[in-house]
């Protein structure tokens, strides 16, 4: 996926918005890629966590809108524990999810889940999944 960097693709308030939602300053990231190397879901992500951090630093909020990266995140916190700059990256991913969820857009639709999943999955999977992926 290519990314166009132009004045009109940059949303200057984005870094601040992420900071308000997550408490994290994405500009601190020095792009070492430890997060991507640690992430159990990286191989299924359109952009790795490092790339997402880079776009966030560049205030490219619009380029982050339709990525699956933060929806694939399982909040396992491995990146947050290992980040040498002390950024709680799991919180940044949460902020990116919240930006979409707070527009009343769901990533999963509970009504479309299969009966098999509903019968089989433990309650904590349901509660956690709905908390993370529905508005």
């Amino acid at each position: 996926m290519s990314v166009l960097i132009l004045p009109k693709t940059i949303n200057k308030d984005f870094v601040q918005k992420i900071k308000e939602l997550s408490g994290q300053d994405v500009r601190v990231c020095f792009q070492c890629g430890t997060c991507s190397g640690s992430c159990p879901m990286s191989e299924h992500m359109e952009f790795s966590p490092r790339k997402v951090m880079h776009l966030a630093q560049l205030a490219m909020g619009d380029s982050l809108v339709n990525l699956n990266t933060y929806w694939a995140c399982a909040s396992c916190h491995t990146c947050s524990v290992r980040c040498p700059r002390g950024i709680d990256i799991a919180r940044v991913m949460e902020a990116l999810r919240q930006i979409t969820l707070r527009k009343n857009i769901n990533f999963i639709e509970p009504s479309k889940m299969s009966a098999e999943t509903i019968m089989g999955a433990p309650q904590i999977a349901m509660v956690a999944g709905f908390r993370k992926m529905t508005s």
Binding site: E20, L21, S22, G23, P40, M41, E43, H44, N68, W71, A72, A74, S75, C76, H77, T78, S80, V81, D88, A90, R91, M93, E94, A95, Q98, F107, I108, M113, T117, G120, A121, P122, Q123, I124, A125, M126, V127, A128, G129, R131, K132, M133
Partner: protein, 292 residues
């Protein structure tokens, strides 16, 4: 000794095998586990957004129940509940502004300042009972059973609430050694099983689980031990599907640590509800001459 404990939703149905085996085992060890009254769902995951205090209300309410009932310590079995309750407790202990907002919002409740200590049963076993006490009560040692201790995410991360630092697996290792089992070197102890992605991106979750199961196989483990019902679901109940899809090459039964403890303490297998584990679990126990 009596201790208060918080079960959580899953332990009352799909993970009854985690709860019942724990209560029965602790009784043998001389500890009565008393469930707190009027508990509610903790929310399963801790809310990571700074401004999202409404999702802290559920776990804090549970902590208030514990405080009302006079528990200095609240024992938790489920890894996800442990993480959610311990992190909510940390806010109430350390963040004055958020604590004040939450206390004011719940004006029907008594004020809470993080007085209750949230403790996972594994920590309780080591710190309050000690492994010698466990060793004393072992009647049917798990001799020759090769166990992979699996912690997953929520027991160790983040460090502020971790039962031990990430990369260290002493609690489970010492427990299983006390029970007579052999603990294998297992590089995937702290890997994520895919967690709630089993709803959002099930194929990706299956890959994450397969990695763990394959590494367990290569480590020479015969069983995987966990304390999380969601890990048990992803690694255990989903296992046959992973074999059918050729993502993993061999079955490795998953058990809750409390079930292995109950077995070693010589308790009747029916308290362990092995029927709630995947079918390989029962097969494995039969192969080791346990009457289940």
């Amino acid at each position: 000794m009596k201790i208060n404990y918080y079960p959580g939703c899953t332990l009352k149905s799909k993970a009854k095998n985690l709860e019942d085996a724990a209560i029965a085992s602790m009784k043998v060890l001389g500890v009565e586990m008393e469930e707190i009254d009027r508990w509610n769902c903790c929310g399963a995951v801790y809310s990571l957004a700074e401004d999202d205090l409404i999702h802290q209300v559920a776990p804090v309410r549970d902590l208030i129940r514990a405080k009302e009932q006079g528990s200095g310590k609240l024992t938790v079995l489920c890894s996800m509940c442990y993480n959610t309750l311990a992190r909510a407790n940390l806010i109430m202990k350390t963040d004055g502004e958020k604590r004040d907002t939450i206390n004011r919002f719940m004006d029907e409740e008594i004020d809470y300042f993080g007085e209750v200590e949230v403790v996972h049963l594994l920590s309780f076993l080591k710190d309050e009972l000690g492994w010698d006490k466990v060793r004393e009560k072992v009647k049917a040692p798990l001799t020759g059973v090769k166990v992979a201790p699996y912690y997953g995410c929520t027991l160790q991360r983040p460090a502020e609430v971790g039962i031990e630092p990430m990369g260290s697996y002493e609690l489970m290792t010492e427990l299983f050694e006390a029970l007579g089992a052999t603990v294998v070197d297992f590089p995937a102890s702290a890997y994520c099983c895919g967690s709630y992605q089993v709803l959002g991106m099930p194929d990706s979750a299956a890959d994450a689980a397969s990695k763990i199961l394959n590494l367990a196989g290569r480590s020479g483990a015969e069983v995987i031990a966990t304390s999380c019902p969601l890990c048990e679901f992803n690694l255990g109940k989903k296992q046959q599907g992973l074999i059918d899809e050729k993502k993993i090459s061999q079955n490795i039964p998953t058990f809750y640590f409390t079930q292995l403890m109950a077995l070693a303490l010589g308790l009747a297998p029916d308290v362990c509800h092995f029927e709630l584990n995947d079918s390989n679990a029962v097969e494995f126990l039969k192969s080791k001459n346990y009457s289940v």
